[in-house]
Amino acid sequence: MIDETDELIQRAARSLRALPATNPLATARIIAAVRARRAQAPSRLALVAQWMREPTLSAASAAFLAAAALVVGFVARGAVRTVDGSSPDIATTSEMPLPTGTAPALPTANTRGEGVAVAFLFEARNAKSVAVVGDFNNWDATSSPMKRFGPDGPWTTTVRAKPGRHVYAFLVDGSTVVADPRAPRARDLDYGGDASVLMVTTP
């Protein structure tokens, strides 16, 4: 029997193999949904019986997912978080861009440095350079430059931030500070400029 291992196929497979980082809110939703089911059914036997009768999610689980979806909907406008998983297969580049997801949160053993990896996304077609600046990188434009996908794509980067509330913005073309249109505004009482809020959660 033929087993396809020629170079082209291998390269194709490699391009698909990059592991996405865990979306912490997604894993949290799974746990919440599971807890909800535990709370409802006193015994696992009952759950199994239920699953066999109705192979789709129960109304309560659906409600939880819907509630969670609300959270997702709101937070999807903000910066995206990811947490590096502990699997050795994860791509090691720190500039790993991520799909629009949701809020930060959960743990997974992140031993590669301090804080939680957070991905940022910003649309700026005509910009020549964009950087993330915030309290997690001392507002230093040189520490987190962003990269773009193709000539028209969004700018992205990944930064490490410790659990808690953070304030940040994007520095466009080295000089203009722009708040993240997808995130809640942070009123700046000290300097007046607008910035954005990032909530990073913790194990």
Binding site: A28, R35, L70, A105, T111, V133, D190, M199, T202
Partner: protein, 214 residues
């Protein structure tokens, strides 16, 4: 597997703590301030803070934020002074062992009107782990329009019920979204807070539940 995970968390916490302490005394970023006058003023303020036992890192960040936003030297000086004052107050309230992140978060909370008493109560509710996240959530709720005392009561109640970091973060995100959609902030808080309470597991007598995470 579980003990490996505990070990890993311990390593992570240690790494975070160590790095935080080291960064707290990092002057090298002064070089990022190109204007000589501003840089000297900032250096002086940092030196003063250092001598008073206040971690410099958040102050440096505050200065650099001003630089990024093209603020005047005076504005930067005022901002740093105000922050240092709040951080010293946070130090009094949160204790000598409070981490830099806690102090910075405590200072933020104070700046939006959270009471000193609340910080004391939060510390008491969680004496041995960092409450930087809880402080951040509280700050954010108030920033979205919830009255400081209502927000404080909610966060303290959730802490007492062992709400997770994820849940607390979700609370502030939810409330933010609700407010953005036009809902009254305190109504939103009550609603979302109730939602989380209903998800909180029963007291630890029955299950092997996860201990309250940091």
């Amino acid at each position: 597997m579980t003990s490996f995970r505990r070990l890993t968390f311990a390593v992570v916490l240690l790494a975070v703590a160590t790095a935080a302490r080291a960064a707290a005394q990092d002057y090298s970023r002064l070089a990022l301030i190109r204007d000589d006058v501003t840089r000297n003023v900032v250096r002086g303020l940092l030196g003063g803070a250092f001598s008073r036992g206040v971690p410099i890192d958040p102050l440096m960040a505050k200065a650099l934020e001003g630089v990024a936003k093209k603020a005047s030297t005076t504005a930067i000086r005022d901002a740093m002074n105000a922050l240092e004052k709040r951080m010293r107050k946070a130090q009094d309230l949160l204790g000598k062992d409070a981490s830099v992140d806690e102090l910075a978060a405590g200072a933020d909370a104070l700046s939006v009107g959270v009471s000193e008493k609340t910080l004391t109560r939060m510390r008491r509710a969680a004496p041995r782990r960092s409450i930087a996240l809880e402080l951040g959530v509280l700050t954010e709720l108030v920033a979205r329009g919830v009255g400081p005392s209502k927000a404080s009561e909610m966060v303290l109640s959730l802490m007492a019920r062992n709400a997770t970091g994820v849940q607390l973060t979700a609370l502030s995100n939810d409330v933010q979204g609700d407010v953005a959609a036009g809902l009254n902030p305190e109504v939103a808080l009550t609603l979302r807070g109730k939602g989380i309470m209903s998800l909180l597991p029963p007291p630890p007598s029955t299950n092997t539940l996860q201990p309250r995470p940091k």
